[in-house]
Structure formats: C-alpha cells, structure tokens
Amino acid sequence: MRVRKITRSSNATKVLDQAGGASGAGFAPTLAIVIPVYKHSVLMTEAVESALAQQADFDIAIVIVDDGCPFGETEIIGATYATAHENVFYVRKPNGGLSSARNYGVDFAFDLFPDIEAVYFLDADNRITPPAMQDVFDFLRSRPEIDWVYPNIDKFGIGWNGSYQAPYSRLLHITFDNICEAGSMVSRRVFDAGIRFDETMKAGFEDWEFWLQCISHGFAGANYPFFGFDYRQRAESMLRDSHRTKAAIMAYIREKHKKLFAPDTLVQWEHEDSPRFAAIATGTYAVSLFSDPVATHSKIDLETFIDRYWAALAEPDAHGVPPFMLWVAPAHLEAMRKIGVLHNVLWHAERLSEKHHLVAIRLEHDTSRIEIKQIEAGAPDYMAKKPLAWMCSVDLFKACVDDISDEWIGSIRGKRPSPDTVELVIRGPFKAFDLDRTVLSATNAFLSTLGVFRDSAYRRMTNARWTWRGGYFPAIKTHYRLLREALGASPVLPRIAAKNQAPRIGFLLPIASFGGVEKVAYAMARVLARLGYETHLYVLGKSACEMVFDHDDFASVNFLMDDYPLWGGAHHFAGHDVMMAQDDGARVERLLGLFSGLDVVINCQVAPVNAVLGELRRRGVKIIDHVHVLDKTRSGRSAGHPYIALAYEHIYDLILTCSAQMADWFHGMGVPDAKLMHIRNAPSYEMRDSEVRTILRQRQRRGMGDRLKTLFIGRLDSQKGIERLYAAATIIRRRKLPIDIRLIGGEVLNDQNRGSWTERFAEIGIKLEPAIYSAKALTDAFAEADVLILTSRWEGAPLTILEAQRVGCVPVVTAVGAVGELVEHEIDGMLLRADDDNAVAHELVTSLERLLGDPHLLHRLSSQAADNVAARNWAENLSPLIDRLEAWFPFRSEEIELRRTVTLGPVR
C-alpha cells in the first residue's frame, strides 16, 4: 500500500507516489506514526496532513486511533483519510484514555507490520515538519546506544520555545520535570521489552511514567535539536489540568517507581550524568569527573574541561562542569579511600565549599585513631602545614578567573590566605608512602589551572546565549541541588552502591571510644562484613574514633562533625527529653544526606538520631535499635535508651537487646515480641582457640599462688560501684588478707567523686594503672588474674565478664542487669547479691576469702567459665539477625549464604 514515497537528494526532493496507490503491494513501513484522537476532530487533520507530508526514504504507516470520541466527525474524517490514503489506518475503540489509545495504536501497528522499527507518537492537535521523520529516524539509527529521540518544545498558538538540548539526564528526568515530550520517536526495542503506557493513568503525565519505565529497563533517550515538532498550546489543555493535579500523579509515579527515586539510583545517575566533582590531578592535570570517586568514572584532559567550562558559562542548561572543583593527587584520594574516609571527606568539603571560599585538605599520620578536624582561620594549628588538596565551588573558581588580579588568590601560598579558607585535617593510619607524595603541590596545581583558564581564548567571549530557544532546564552545575531536593538531604554523601549490591548496614554510634556499646557494634560489623554485607560506621557525637576495630570491619568511617547534642530535646516522654524531626537540632537534611544509600541502620544508642530515622524508614531503610543497658539516674530512677526506644518504637523494625531480661522489659512495656530480638553478647575481640588453650594450661599449671590475684578493669565511677570496691579493698588491707587488687581504668572527672580515686587507692597501696585497650593487653591482664571483680550498681551484659571467663578468670560480680545471664553463681563465677554498698563490700570480701580458702572451687569455677564462654561467639549469636537480614534482602542473600556456611563458628 505504498502511498507516498519521496526520496531526497542533497538539494532536491522527489515525490514518488502522491496519490493513494491501488494495490498496496510493496508497502513495508519502517515507521508507524500513532495519532490518538479524542475531541480534536478538526485539528486532527493538521496532524494527519503533517504526517502525510513526510519526506522520507522509507514507508510510513499512519495509525489514527479514535479513542471513542463522542464527536461523530472524528470518525468521518478519520475514515475518510483512511479511504483516501492507503498508508493511513483508522481504528476506533471504546474510550480508555490517552495511554490506552497509544497502546492500541502501537499494538495495531506491530500486528499489521511486524517489521516496523520505530513508532512516533503524534498527538492529534500537534504537527511535524516534512523532513522530521527522516531526520529523526536517521538520528535514532545512527546511535545504537539510544532508544528514543525527543524534541525541543516549539509551541505555537501560545508561542514558546524551549531548548531541551542538554545531554539526556536521568537525574533531571526524575527530579525536575518530564523532559521528554510524548511526541518522541521510540525504537521498537522499547516495545519488544513489553513497555506500554500505563492505562490507569488518565489524568496526565502518562508519558513521563512511560519514560520512567524505559529508564527502569535501561533504555536511554537523546534530544535531536532540529526535530521539527510543533506543539499546539492553547490557554487551557489536558497538560494544564495535569499540572493542577501533579502532586497526586507524582505520588502515584513515585510509589510505582520506588527504586528509581531511591538515593542509590539517583546518586548513581548524578555520578554518570551530572558528576558533582571535577578532580584535577596535580602533576598530570587530568580531570576526573565523578560523584563517587571510587566508582568507575570518566576522565578528560584539561583542554576538554576548559571547553566545557566556557560552554557552560554561555549555556548552562545544556553544558556543564561539576559544581565543585578539587585539586588533588590521585594517590591522596586513594590514601583516604584506604582508611575509609574518602566519601565523608568529600561530603564535608562540599558543605564547606558552599560556606567558605576554599577548603584546604591536609592528611596526617596517626596509627591509633581516625579523625577529621575542621580548622578555621585564627585557630592555633590553622594552615600549619602545606595543604595536600584544595576544593572550591565552580562559582568561586569563575570569580577567580574573572578577576585579573593575582593578589587575592595568590595568597593561598602563604599561611594567611586572603580568601575565606577552612582547613580539613584528616588524621589516620596513612602509610608514610601515601603522605610522601607531596612533591607536586596542590596549591601550584590550583594556581596553574587558574592561569590556564585566564589565558583561554574563550575568555573574550561575551557569554551571550547562542541557542535561540530559551533555556528551560536548570543549570547542569545545579543538578546536585535537584538531588538534594529530591532526597530532602543536604549534602548527599557521594557514594554509590557497589556492583554486587550487598546490603549496606550503617552502625550509628554516639562516640567511638572503648566502651561496650561500640565494641559490640564492631563485633557485629566484623561478622556481617565477613558475610559480605557492606558495613559502615557513623560516629555522630565526635569527629574521631579509636582504631579498636579491624580495617576490614567497616567499608567506611563517617563523622557528622557537627555540634550534635547526644541527649535531650524539646519534647518529653516518660521522664525523658526527646527530639522530633521538626526540631532545630534534629539536623534532618544533613543526617539524611550522611545516611544516604543505607539499607539498614543499626542505632547503637544515639538518642537524637531517632528524629530522622522515621523518614529513613519511610524510604524503605530497615531500622534497628540495639539497646544495652537500662541506666539509673542519680536518684536511682530507671532511665536511658530503652525508654527512648519506647518513644520511637513505631519506626523500629527490630529492637536488639543484649539480654533476655531486656527483651522481657520491652515486651512488658508494650513492644510486640516480633520486634524484639535478643542477641547474646560474646567477647568483643577474637582469640584463636590455641591461644585460649595455652593460657588455660598455664593457669592450670600455675594454680593459685600464695595470694589471690584480683582485677578490676573499667571506669572509676559511680555506675561501676567504685566506692564499693574501695570499701572492700580497705577491709582486705585492714585484715591483711593475701589478696592482690589490680586496678586498671580511668577516672571520670565529672562523676561527683569525692576526691581523686587514684589518690585514695594509692593511700591504701593500690596503684591505678591506665586504661588498656588492645586485645593483647586485655588478654594478658585477664590471664594473670584469678578473679575479675565488678561491683557495678547497674549493668547490661558486660563484655569484660565474658572476656575474663574465656581465659579462666573467675568473675565475682554484682548481680545487676543481665549479669545473671552471664554468670551462674558458684558454677562459673560468683554473684554478689547485696544491694547496700557496705554489704556488697563485705560480700565481695567474703567471696574472695572463700576462693582463697578453696583453690579447688576457684579451679572449678575457672574451668567452667572457660568452657561456657568457649561456646559463645558473635557469628553464632547473630544468627537470628542474619536470618532476618536475609529475609529482608532475599535477592542479595545467595552469596551471603555461601559465605555464612564458611564463616560461622569460632575462629580456629
């Protein structure tokens, strides 16, 4: 049914067949133009005529889909065109909306002409220019990487011309607007993948949703700048109606395409489509473009970057460079990556670049801790050493390029730079080799780059807009703000998901010192990391953490680095101050940005962070609380994190407790049993079985000597019952009992102590030894001691007891908290059941005297303790949690299950 066929040579066109061909023989359309019609019974003639007027070297089928239009003339006109032109097909269906009409046309076209290569959607009131289909099809065919071609918007009626010429950006398409008009040419690959318009969407934006389906399937679009698409705009239209109900439609779209709107997805697209950082390598001046420096990213030479920079100044909607520029040696980026702080450093530097002119970055070596410090002008250590990297916003850089004077910016060579400069100092276990690579100065690189830009031939440009269509899209350099708005987060941590899609678990800690809470978190992270989960540490109260964990336990270490209150809030719950999301101190946007991309959050007793976890949960993140202890106030009132957890119970998918007792408490307080999970504690650090056996053998050989060796290890504070210990020690000294007391720990200055405990113990001949943190030192201390003393007023399930028991050190401990779940009286330790301080001291002395007098009892308790703890390990204890994680993320669990079978069980 060849009807109209025209070939074009360079300067002329030739109409091959203008009238309706009689036979239709040889009509083999390459393209179908689908024209849905509803109530545009007259204007449709313009659409059909423009389709008939196409000058193409291939056949085109024109399918008019009458979507049950109530106007009789639609049928008459449609049928008349089909009668007059044999490449025109008129079909009528019951009214089902625009989506159903388009789908009907697509299916009709493919049924009739299975070899069609593409479909063009032309709404009945719009038009296309004669060369449009040929030009656009050629464009589509010449670029196999694209699957649909969309036009600029040239409106007639109410005239408006908008340039959509920017490189296609999925981030923009998701977060800004529907940047692809329905009047696009779509490759058949899209339809072969089963993609159709959503027929439930009848109020508009069905085309937007269609493109989102395409994106979900990995298809991509591109703009053809000379499309020839004419969009009729009148004062009122379906599109205008759609904008009035946009919020509801968008809610539907967001719900349907949750994954597309997820932080992971959006940051990935930002990385690929509008990278946030341009890192100019000191020395080579190669420019890396990325959001996540660890992910695969593009690199360009400086000259290309300069081209893009000036193009972006002229037409920022269509051309762009990243909003932040960084001068750094790749080795230094790698050094930060190795210790797990790279993303966090970029996150901070981005924020600071918006507040200050420049951010100077310095790396310093520290084997025992990781720390990020922000140093402002005027501080003693400010710019004390040469920066290893610089960062600034591209706007600041532009101001420097425009400023012909070198005086201001040149001052960054000195220690008192004129630009408002803030310094980020990163301390950590860097290798000396990493830090040595400072021959090529980042400062020189910055200033040299500036010189190159200033000398550029483009500098004489007027920056006038050359594209006559108005710029509709936001400047590419502001796309990162669209990301922020979409996620309600600012800044957004620039980390994209790893390819293996391992679930990412964030452990939130108030501080990262040597406490039991953090030790449990580290132990859990270690097990989960070995199973293949991606674990991340977030320290919200301080910007430093002690390196108590192994390097491999966490993929990253992140600090909020803000004056973040770890307790309190404007609202009250059961005698506790709590914070809500709307409160000033909640820092919702910042924390959501920091936690961006996590699948699971385990809150390890950070009270105020609960204010933002609700929002995370709504975004699909699984929220777990891990509660360790019910504290006591000065007056003895039960208080602390368990109560906070009750206030926020709704947001928690799971509450982990260190004891069965705590789980019972929660249950009794109204938390459903299904939300509670008791994770038994185990020693916080690992020992090989052989090491343990050796120590136990030595203990057995040694037996109990003339004197009973006791050990107290912990804080010298009221919670630990230090007064009780002191009273017992006084009795022991007074009675001259053969009992040695070794005291290891630290004073707590604000503990309302009555004088220095160090001095008071010294007066009775007991020297306070400084706190020890390393696993070896702890093991040595436990191995030397016969008895571990713990006189706490309240406790959770102290790790110290388990660590002591493991090497046969017998715990003699107050029966508080969940201690009774760790120690069975006179089986693997001794429990002190008295409440009164004096009574506890006397019970302690009596217990020690019993052991002193009965070496067999000590040996029995020691052996049993070691045996009991030998069966405890974190991998085993975490099994219920791991099961739950696998249930939550079944699609990712295959590899984890494999690892689990290998990893479970104690380290041999």
Binding site: T45, E46, A84, D154, W310, H319, Y458, W466, W468
Partner: protein
C-alpha cells in the same frame, strides 16, 4: 368559460415541454450505459436505483440512448452520476469505446472503466458496478481530504497572519522605534593568522547555524576582513530553516563587488511563521584562489555554533563567523554601505521600505519661520552643520518654528527625530514635528485647533526634560506622493523662563516606501 384547471394547464404546458426535454437530454439519476442485450438478471440487479440506458449512437454533439421505457433520449451532456459502462455484446465494443471517448471529452473525472460482460453475467455486472462505486468513493475521499488540507492550511495561514498583523500593530504602537533592530552581533576578531575559511573549506562551502530564531529576521551581515576586488568569482549565500528544510533566501554577489567591512544581506521580506533554526550556507562559484576573507568571531565553545562543513555537518573551525542579524519589518533594509538584496528581490523589484536620514543638503535649508505672534520675533533656529543638528531654542512665551524645505521626501510614511534639551539647568521644553503644504496651517495644528488634513502629519507635543533624550515621530496616512516641507517646533512647558533651553532636533530621518 375557462375552468381553473384549464387555465392552469394552459399556463404550465410550455414548462412541461422544457422539463421533458431536459429529462430526455440530461440524466440526473445514477445511470448505467450499456450495449447489447440486457438480461433479466441484470435488470433485477439494477432495480430502480439506476437508469439503464442502451447506447444507440455516438455523434459529435450528442449521445443517443434508449431507456427502459423504450424512449430514445438524445444526451448532450454526460450523465451526472455514471455508475458503469458495460458492453454485453462483444461486437459492440467499438461503440462502447467511442461512447467512453465521447464522455471523456465532456467530463474530466468520474468516467468509469468500461467492462465487457456476457449478457447473463449478473455477478460480473454487480462487481463492475461496485468497483466503480468504490473508485468513486475513494476519489471523493481524496477530494474531501484535500479540502481538509486546504482548510487546515487556511487555518494556519490565518493564525500566521494574525501574528504578523499583531506584530505590525505592536510596531506601529511603539511610535518612533526603529523598523529594524540588531538582534545579535558576533564581532570580528582582528586576527591576521586566521585562514581564509572560504579557501580552506572543502568544496569552498561553509555553514553557520544562526543564533536567533527565524521569525522577524530581515537581514544578515557578514564581516569581510579582506576584499578581493579582482576576483571573478561569485559568492552564493543560502539561508535555510533547519527544522522544516525550507530554503528561505539566496544571494549571489560578485566577489569583486564586496568591500571590506560589514556586508549586509537583506531578505526580500522579513521571515514570518513559526520560529525555526536558521542555517546560512556560503559557497563560491568560480576561481577559489582569490577570495575575500570572511572574519571569524571569538573562540566558540559551543560546537553546534562553530563554523561547519555543511555536507559533513562537522566543525571546521573553533570559531563562528563574525555576523550580525537584524530583525524588523518586512523590506526594511538596515542602512549599510555594502548591502545586497536577496536574489528574488532583485528579480522582482517589489517596493520596499527604507529608513533614510535627511541629507545634509536638505537640512542645510533649515530656516526659522515667524508664524507665532507670541514668539515676538524671537530668533532661535540654528543649523549645526557638522553635527546635523537643528537647534530650535524656544522663546519665553510662544513657539519657535523651524522649516526644512523638502524635509518630507516622496514616499514618506513616517518622519522621526531624536530630541534633546542640551543643558541641565533648562526647564522642560516641548517639541513637535509637522508636515504640511500650507504654512499657515502649521500654527493651527500646533495649537490643536485643527486636525491634520490629507498629506499632513503632526507628531503631537513631546515633553523633554533637561538632558533626558526623547524621540518623536509623525505619521502620514499614506506615502507622500510629492516632496513636502517639514516644520520643527519648540515651546516652554511653563512659559516665562527659557534660560538654557537649548532644544535640539537630531538624527532626523524618514521611513520611505519605494
């Protein structure tokens, strides 16, 4: 006695004759022409829907047929709706062919293909008639859709004309605005090292996407760094709109005529319609060794706008052509020294609008006329030759009037001038422009006691504060058929103090048709 019936009969008899004659010679009912014998089955199929007319004879001026009633009918016209031509007798084929020829001489369309059928072939007969009907239906559909097309085109043309008229009205409402404006300039860069792109381009062809939308574009200027006065080549320039592939304008300019500086290429009419992207293609016919050097602008970071090879559509330079784009009213040519009109315009020589400054030899004729009694013989008119300024100092009371003889050239539609009170201490002054053939009428026009007559124009009074330039125009109802005089007038807004009232008319110019 004559009955009423008889009267009626007598009255209508002549009409009946006419009607019968018409019915016999003119067939309105759908007709089937046939030859040979008509079988009963065919008759039954035709029913009463069709007139079955047996062909008897074909003559030059008529077709003789016999209808089913046995009456012979002499047809001078082809049947209005001819459903079929059928030969039931093979021997009548020649008669049928002649009938077809006869019909075709009288009708361009609607003559069906003749069919040869057996006398009893009812099915064949029905098929033939249906095929003809289908053909007719399709032809009608084609016709109908062509009408749809025309209607759509008319609708689009209406919208376009609406927009054009609205633009024109907007222009007219903006009294005194220039009829053309420089919409974009990419200034030339003085760089001797730049190669001559016309020489280096493959096939001597270059193209440049323009940075303005098509609508309103009236002229394009390219900058020539170096002329080639001895060249015998021809520079061809084509302007296309990219989205619809339309060739909008072409220029062919002898290279020898091109001077260094801006070379303005004016369109024969300002581009209207929907906004499109414009592409300029420059090529050379003839010897390419000695060609003018087209200037380039600054380095261009936008690849799309770099100078391109039109065939490969790839950049051939990191810059754009130095260019100016003018928008404005149709036919108005920017006043440039080196201007070239579109090729079609040269051929057609259609009348156009030009903005022309009043020549110095006219301005120098400026003289004061003492028409206003209040001015008390105050003498305030001076022509400042070097600056082409008419100084028209107002009196403390009354009006100063200057006359520029011949200041309204033939074809003038509008006269305009810039106005300035050139001293900051002056009080506000009012300015006016008048065209009149009757000097005595000028005062009446100025005072508002008379309206402009045919051939006259009055700008109205324009209040000009000190040191704040203003603009004034007068409009004539039709283009001036003959040269007329222009009067310039000033007066104090608040009579009494005319100190420092240095009132000046400058840049006096006319919009001239033809």
């Amino acid at each position: 006695m004559i009955t009423a019936a008889a009267t009626r009969s007598q009255e209508i008899t002549p009409d009946l004759h006419v009607l019968e004659r018409a019915q016999r010679s003119y067939v309105r009912k759908p007709a089937i022409l046939f030859s040979g014998r008509l079988s009963d089955s065919v008759k039954a199929l035709a029913g009463d829907t069709y007139d079955l007319l047996k062909i008897k004879r074909v003559a030059d001026d008529h077709l003789l047929v016999r209808d089913q009633a046995g009456q012979e009918r002499r047809l001078a016209e082809a049947p209005l709706q001819l459903a079929g031509i059928v030969a039931f007798d093979q021997n009548d084929r020649e008669l049928v062919d002649r009938t077809t020829d006869w019909l075709q001489k009288r009708r361009n369309t609607g003559i069906p293909v003749a069919h040869q059928l057996a006398a009893e072939d009812g099915v064949g007969f029905a098929t033939a008639i249906l095929a003809n009907a289908q053909g007719l239906a399709q032809k009608n559909a084609v016709l109908t859709t062509s009408l749809f097309r025309q209607l759509a085109e008319a609708r689009q043309a209406n919208e376009e004309l609406q927009n054009r008229f609205a633009a024109l009205e907007a222009f007219i409402d903006r009294h005194g605005m220039q009829p053309f404006e420089l919409a974009f300039i990419n200034p030339p860069v003085d760089d001797d090292t730049e190669p001559n792109v016309l020489v280096t381009a493959s096939d001597g062809r270059i193209s440049q996407i323009l940075p303005v939308a098509s609508v309103g574009v009236s002229a394009i200027a390219l900058h020539v760094a170096k002329a080639a006065p001895r060249s015998d080549a021809m520079l061809n320039v084509a302007l296309n709109s990219v989205e619809d592939g339309r060739l909008i304008e072409t220029w062919s300019v002898p290279v020898a005529d091109i001077e260094a500086g801006w070379m303005t290429l004016s369109l024969k009419s300002t581009i209207a319609g929907l906004r499109r992207t414009l592409r300029l293609v420059v090529s050379v016919d003839g010897h390419r060794l000695d060609l003018p050097t087209l200037s380039l602008g600054n380095a261009q970071p936008l690849d799309l706008f770099r100078l391109q090879d039109p065939d490969l559509q790839q950049s051939i330079s990191s810059s754009s052509l130095a260019l100016q784009v003018y928008v404005g009213l149709p036919g108005v040519v920017p006043p440039h020294r080196s201007s070239f009109s579109a090729r079609a315009a040269q051929d057609n020589a259609a009348p156009s609008l030009r903005e022309v400054s009043l020549p110095q030899d006219v301005l120098v004729q400026t003289a004061q006329v003492h028409l206003d009694e209040d001015s008390s013989g105050f003498d305030g008119v001076t022509y400042l030759d070097e600056e082409c300024i008419v100084s028209c100092h107002p009196p403390a009371f009354g009006t100063t009037i200057a006359k520029i003889a011949g200041g309204c050239p033939v074809g003038t539609l509008r006269l305009s001038a810039n106005l300035l009170v050139a001293h900051e201490k002056a009080k506000d002054v009012e300015f006016a422009l008048i065209v009149s053939r009757d000097e005595s009428h000028v005062v009446h026009l100025l005072s508002g006691t008379a309206d402009p007559a045919a051939g006259e124009g009055f700008s109205g009074w324009t209040r000009v504060p000190a040191k704040q330039p203003r603009f004034a125009s007068l409009y004539l109802e039709a283009a001036a058929r003959e040269s007329g005089d222009l009067y310039l007038a000033t007066r104090m807004v608040e009579p009494g103090n005319h100190d420092f009232a240095w009132a000046r008319f400058f840049n006096v110019h006319a919009l001239v048709q033809g």
